[in-house]
């Protein structure tokens, strides 16, 4: 720091020590540039990560699609890449992921939104001080714990209620994934509700509306873009969930709407294949990347969609 002070002060005076001081400030300039370069390189790492993901996925998928037509992959309804005769229709895996995601949404979206409304509009400070940390804890619990909970607690309960439920089933995983994403919906929706300016609420009260009417007819519609965006993000998270479905949902790819059967999701398939560890170069190895590419594309599209919804449909207040 003092070096900078004296150098600058000296340079402004001019005189015999000028060349040395000029050299010092040139050294400073180079150091600044060097540091800036290093920091830019750090920023580049994040780009490299994306490039890496996309390259790796596409590279191996090219090998896969050389042997299997994309049409068969995307529209086939039988997935038996390891058995003979081989079928590479990925729809059963997608159906499995969708079934779990829909079930999770049924749990998480209403509960999450209602929690957000309570926290943003109704909760007294004391309650909020307790409830918000609770939600944060819920969000921080590792997914393998949820998987364990599904396997040992939820599945037996479901089997009491619906006797024909298989020991591996989609419903158990759905419920647990739903619990997992409640905090996400709640906190993002709450942010959206908070962002609605006070004067809208006050205007509504001024017209004689009750709190209930204000919340449901003014605040929530105003925050709708943020709420919908949070829904989309949460569903995307549910699709990408791995450990809970691997433990509880099963490993039988099939197209079914019945949540009480076992299914297999895209994520659980990737885990299954890598547990069995197929080697380089075989078509089974490449299925990891083809399914991974599909998964990546779906979640990326949903994340982008949620941001578009947030920006495009956000109500603008002056």
């Amino acid at each position: 720091m003092s070096d900078g002070l004296t150098a600058t002060a000296a340079a402004s005076r001019g005189g015999p020590g000028d060349r040395r001081r000029l050299a010092m400030s040139r050294a400073r300039a180079w150091r600044e540039r060097g540091i800036r370069g290093v920091l830019f390189a750090c920023g580049a790492v994040s780009i490299l990560t994306t490039v890496g993901i996309v390259t790796v996925l596409i590279w191996e998928s090219i090998g896969f699609f050389a042997e299997v037509s994309p049409w068969e992959f995307l529209t086939g309804t039988t997935w038996t890449p390891q058995f003979i005769p081989r079928h590479f229709g990925v729809l059963p895996l997608v159906a499995g992921s969708a079934l779990v995601a829909v079930g999770a949404s049924l749990v998480a979206l209403p509960v999450g939104l209602a929690s957000a409304i309570y926290l943003a509009e109704y909760a007294p400070d004391r309650a909020r001080k307790i409830l918000k940390p609770v939600l944060e804890v819920l969000a921080g619990i590792p997914t393998v714990v949820y998987g364990y909970f599904a396997l040992t607690f939820i599945t037996p309960i479901i089997r009491e209620i619906v006797p024909r439920t298989g020991v591996f089933n989609a419903a158990s995983a759905s419920i647990v994934v739903g619990i997992m994403i409640i905090p996400m919906v709640a906190s993002l929706s709450e942010d959206a509700l908070y962002a609605v300016p006070r004067h809208l609420r006050e205007a509504s009260y001024g017209l004689g509306a009750t709190k209930f009417e204000t919340v449901t007819r003014v605040v929530v519609p105003a925050a709708l873009s943020g709420i919908v965006a949070s829904f989309i993000l949460a569903i995307s998270r549910a699709i990408g969930e791995t450990m809970a479905v691997t433990l509880a949902a099963g490993a039988t790819p099939k197209m079914t709407l019945n949540p009480f059967e076992s299914i297999q999701t895209m994520t659980a398939y990737i885990v299954q294949v890598s547990l069995g560890d197929t080697p380089f170069g075989t078509i089974e190895y490449r299925t990891i990347f083809a399914v991974g590419l599909l998964l990546f594309s779906i979640t990326l599209a949903m994340n982008i969609l949620s941001r578009v919804v947030l920006r495009r449909y956000r109500e603008v207040y002056e």
Binding site: Q82, T252, L275
Partner: protein, 304 residues
């Protein structure tokens, strides 16, 4: 036919007595050993490694369960020094190994009666013929209910569990029961992890699964064992019937394969010595049938 001694006929003839040897001197050696392969052999390997590691902390042994096929794939590229296998090495795998400079030595270590299991609540089935098993498991099989297996059996949904395609048990079962290797129906829950299969079979009333006998022994209280009829009457797998070969056709030898080049490392030799000295005792402890003592002595000599 693969260049291996996996003839289910030869072994029962040789297995007339099981005795266990012991002994060995110790000096400090350090290093790493990687084992991977069959989930059927895994209980034996796990037991041995657990005891070995406690006695030899400087030799670190890591055990994976990728299935017999998966284990060979790692073994043949040198990522694993030892492969667990519930079937003999195939010609194609042998070629790949040789091409990568890996020279496999085959050691049989125990006998397994590959067992067919159903749910304990299943009170109608005690015995299946090989023919019925084949009809259930052949590719394209449309059997989804127990009533389709045998007349008079209830219309209970048949839920199937079995090893995946990387498993030696899968290869062995398909070859001996269905008649052609790797030929199987595809709509069952496949897993390389036999624990998952046990969980499944013990959960659904109409379930049926096949896996190594050790997993039955470990979970006797939640599984029911089926006898198999190969034309000479119903035979349950137990140490007697497996040893004499009466449990047909599903009695098979279990192997470990070691890379000869890896045996130049002291830690590998130390580990394999411990293995062959103790496998007799531990194999029967986990539920398999050990071989006669002579086999293990021959193995010990071979690795020195």
């Amino acid at each position: 036919m693969a260049p291996s001694i996996r003839l289910p006929v030869v072994f029962p003839l040789l297995a007339w007595l099981a005795g266990c040897g012991g002994g060995g001197s110790e000096a400090e050696v350090a290093g790493r050993v990687h084992i991977d392969g069959s989930s059927t052999v895994y209980p034996i390997t796990e037991a041995i490694v657990e005891e070995f590691q406690a006695a030899h902390a400087s030799i670190r042994v890591a055990v994976g369960v990728s299935g017999t096929g998966g284990g060979f794939k790692k073994f043949c590229i040198g990522e694993a020094e030892v492969a667990d296998a519930s079937r003999g090495i195939k010609a194609s795998e042998l070629e790949r190994c040789r091409a990568n400079g890996v020279d496999p030595l085959e050691f049989p270590i125990a006998l397994d009666g590959l067992s067919v299991m159903v749910n304990p609540a299943n009170d109608w089935a005690d015995c299946l013929t090989v023919e019925e098993l084949r009809r259930i498991w052949e590719p394209g099989s449309a059997i989804t209910s127990w009533s389709q297996v045998r007349d008079g059996w209830p219309d209970e949904e048949l839920v199937l569990y079995g090893p995946g395609i990387d498993s030696g048990s899968f290869d062995y079962f398909t070859e001996t029961v269905v008649g052609q290797e790797d030929a199987s129906r595809a709509d069952y829950m496949a897993s390389e992890d036999d624990n998952v299969l046990v969980h499944g079979v013990s959960g659904d009333r109409g379930s049926l699964g096949y896996f190594g006998h050790a997993y039955y022994v470990e979970h006797k209280d939640v599984l029911k064992l089926l006898a198999i009829d190969d034309g000479a009457g119903c035979v349950l797998p137990d140490s007697q019937s497996v040893r004499t070969g009466a449990y047909r056709p599903l009695t098979r030898p279990l192997f470990v394969y070691v890379d000869r080049l890896a045996l130049e490392r002291a830690e590998v030799v130390r580990f394999m010595r411990y293995y062959f000295t103790n496998v007799c005792r531990l194999a029967s402890e986990v539920g398999y049938v050990p071989l006669p003592a002579g086999q293990y002595e021959a193995a010990l000599n071979a690795i020195e």
